[in-house]
């Protein structure tokens, strides 16, 4: 299943899709799979698997800590692809979120082919803008993979238009200026960004950066097509005493978030 299909299915139910992020290999290879299963069992629509990278400039302390731990265990790109395969078998859509250098090192074409074979839908690329993505644009076109580029509050209308035109599947709206991490309040600039983005694309728009509970998810779901949650899920695993407890906590949070994205359907049928 492509993640765009998961978005469409959620839209068919009159609600936003829930997109949950975890870095591969964290807290361990098996622990990550267990946690991803908890996400899938509790209502996540799209799983975003992070490829741990040594220099994650768009990540805050929580995801940095998780990625660092994953790399210390020796997580390799092949492990990330195995994680994709295991997750796709859970009947959820899977995308990989990756900084660009690991893909370049692995080979763009080879990475895309292996991702496709593993059942992945496509890539979210936080430090790759369409201007630099020539090879990826061509390869993803050939393999029918999704290309999820980011738009930001600072993006000009011209850039939003060009970026969304380069996207396939859906668009990632970074709701605040800053790095990943849970925030007390969701951003007030996010609705405006989503509105500006809608003006130039028919694609679904997921909003990320900062959501950590069901009520925030409901708020974002009221104007976006997808609610992306990362750091808050990672936090569940970081804070837990055991992998099983971490997965359980991530599952419980997912259930709360899944209720959140369904709230709009209840209040405005």
């Amino acid at each position: 299943m492509r993640s765009a299909d998961a978005y469409a299915a959620a839209r068919g139910q009159g609600r936003a899709a829930l997109v949950g992020y975890l870095p591969a290999g964290f807290p361990s290879y098996g622990g990550c799979i267990e946690a991803l299963r908890a996400l899938a069992d509790n209502g996540v629509d799209v799983v975003e698997i992070g490829l741990p990278y040594s220099d994650p400039v768009l990540d805050g302390p929580t995801i940095q800590a998780a990625a660092e731990r994953s790399l210390r265990h020796g997580t390799r790109i092949t492990d990330v692809l195995r994680t994709v395969e295991a997750t796709a078998a859970m009947d959820v859509a899977v995308v990989v979120m990756t900084y660009w250098n690991p893909v370049l090192a692995y080979g763009v074409e080879r990475f895309a082919a292996d991702l496709d074979a593993a059942g992945g839908s496509g890539l979210i690329t936080p430090d790759l803008i369409p201007d630099e993505a020539g090879e990826w644009l061509a390869v993803s076109e050939n393999l029918d993979l999704e290309r999820i580029f980011l738009v930001a509050p600072s993006s000009t209308p011209a850039r939003i238009a060009a970026t969304t035109a380069a996207c396939r599947g859906w668009v990632y709206a970074a709701s605040t200026m800053g790095v990943t991490g849970a925030r007390e309040a969701t951003s007030s600039v996010a609705p405006a960004l989503v509105e500006r983005t809608r003006a130039s694309t028919e694609l679904p728009i997921g909003v990320g950066l900062g959501v950590s509970n069901g009520s925030q998810a409901a708020e974002v779901a009221s104007y976006a097509d997808g609610v992306i949650v990362g750091s808050a899920l990672v936090r569940c695993l970081l804070d837990a005493d055991s992998e099983a407890a971490g997965a359980a906590a991530a599952g419980a949070l997912t259930a709360d978030l899944a209720r959140g994205v369904r709230t709009r359907a209840v209040v405005s049928p």
Partner: protein
């Protein structure tokens, strides 16, 4: 395929396949603004006049070209030193920082941030921030705050906030990650004063242009002194700004050989070095495609050098292009070779160089052997060694109760 409007001037954002902008979309508007403001400033005679005035009256330019006779005798060729160590703040870094501070004011931003390794760029940025009345935050790897404690105190005295970075290898690379995170968050009121010829466009070309005063002066000084150009020009290369600064004026002079000397650490055959061009491969780090020290998964390798300023696993994209095209030659210098050259300059000329610059001096010995006694070598003495006293004292066993690391 999607059409994206070119956002920078042609030729300024890419060097062959290298350069570009591998950064979050959130930063693109700021990079576009910087590109535009810089292009506008370059056409503005008032901007150039003000920069010239600052470089002369504040930084102390032009820097001297000094014929190092006793050092020349020791290495076996005529060596001319471009004395960037005599600039205000003690290194070449002030040239770039004054230019970027003027641009910061032009953009109306009240806050600057910087990354620093040895602390020279941090000190230069803190200095310019004090001069221009800007708020200043400097990110510095925790390891570097320890080995360059004196520079931390200098930055604090100048009014900057120095934030020790505890992630990753706790050196320059991680300081740069943290500076990028700050910039993504505060880009509206903050300019990131990148200290080298790396990072996303327009930084590599812009920083090169601001550093190019080194080579422009040195070229004219050589012609005055010798009536001809030097046979070779050399500099140390970490990120590579002092090297690009002195190379830029000579790139069109095909007879002039260009040499960049990287930090070979314990040796290029060990995994403890920072010789990115010699031991790395093409990749993306900190916003540009260039050479990177990386493993087969594209994870950045930790670098090592006795010199904090060269201890970086990336390098500016224009150097990658100069290497691939063969216009410049890059070679590693080990910690030991650098420290031997460090001592040699102290003893023969009464000049204490920065350990970074000592890599270029060590390289000069090798080039002297290659080109013979009639050759004239122009060496960029990019900074002074005051900040390195503690490292040098330990290396040479000059600290009471300390085991000599080297005889």
């Amino acid at each position: 395929m999607t059409e994206i409007a070119a956002t920078t001037e042609p030729g300024d954002e890419r060097f062959g396949p290298y350069g570009g902008r591998y950064v979050p979309e959130a930063l693109i508007a700021a990079l576009d603004q910087l590109t535009e403001v810089y292009a506008d400033a370059r056409r503005d005679p008032q901007f150039q006049a003000e920069l010239d005035r600052l470089l002369r009256d504040y930084a102390g330019r032009p820097s001297l070209l000094y014929q190092a006779s006793r050092f020349s005798e020791a290495v076996g060729a005529r060596v001319l030193l471009k004395r960037e160590d005599l600039n205000h703040t003690g290194a070449h870094k002030i040239n770039n920082v004054l230019g970027q501070a003027l641009l910061t004011r032009r953009m109306g931003k009240p806050r600057v941030i910087a990354e620093t390794g040895a602390g020279q760029h941090g000190v230069a940025t803190a200095t310019a921030a004090a001069l221009f009345g800007l708020e200043c935050v400097v990110y510095m790897g925790e390891v570097d705050t320890e080995r360059q404690a004196l520079n931390v105190a200098r930055m604090q005295l100048l009014g900057a906030d120095v934030i020790p970075v505890t992630s990753g290898s706790r050196t320059l690379k991680d300081a740069m990650n943290e500076a990028f995170r700050d910039w993504v968050t505060n880009v509206e009121d903050t300019h990131y004063v990148i200290g080298s010829v790396g990072g996303p466009a327009p930084f590599p070309a812009m920083v090169r242009d601001f550093a190019a005063i080194i080579g422009t002066e040195a070229r004219a000084q050589c012609l005055d002194l010798l009536g001809r150009l030097p046979d070779a020009v050399m500099a140390c290369v970490g990120g590579g700004s002092n090297a690009m600064g002195i190379f830029a004026a000579f790139i069109a002079d095909e007879a002039v050989r260009l040499y960049g000397f990287e930090a070979g650490g314990d040796g290029i055959d060990t995994d403890r070095h920072a010789a990115t061009l010699t031991g790395g491969s093409p990749g993306v780090l900190h916003g540009a495609r260039s050479y990177v020290l990386q493993d087969e998964d594209g994870q950045t390798r930790e670098s090592h050098s006795i010199s904090a300023g060269l201890d970086y696993p990336g390098v500016g994209p224009e150097h990658a292009w100069l290497k691939d095209t063969g216009r410049a030659t890059y070679a590693p210098i080990t910690d030991r070779e650098a420290m031997d050259a460090f001592r040699l300059l102290c003893r023969t000329e009464g000049i204490i160089p920065a350990i970074e610059s000592a890599h270029a001096l060590a390289g000069a010995s090798g080039v002297a052997k290659e080109l013979g006694p009639d050759a004239t070598l122009l060496v960029n003495l990019s900074g002074r060694g005051d900040k390195d006293m503690s490292t040098a004292a330990h290396w040479f066993g000059l600290v009471r109760g300390d085991e000599a690391a080297s005889s």
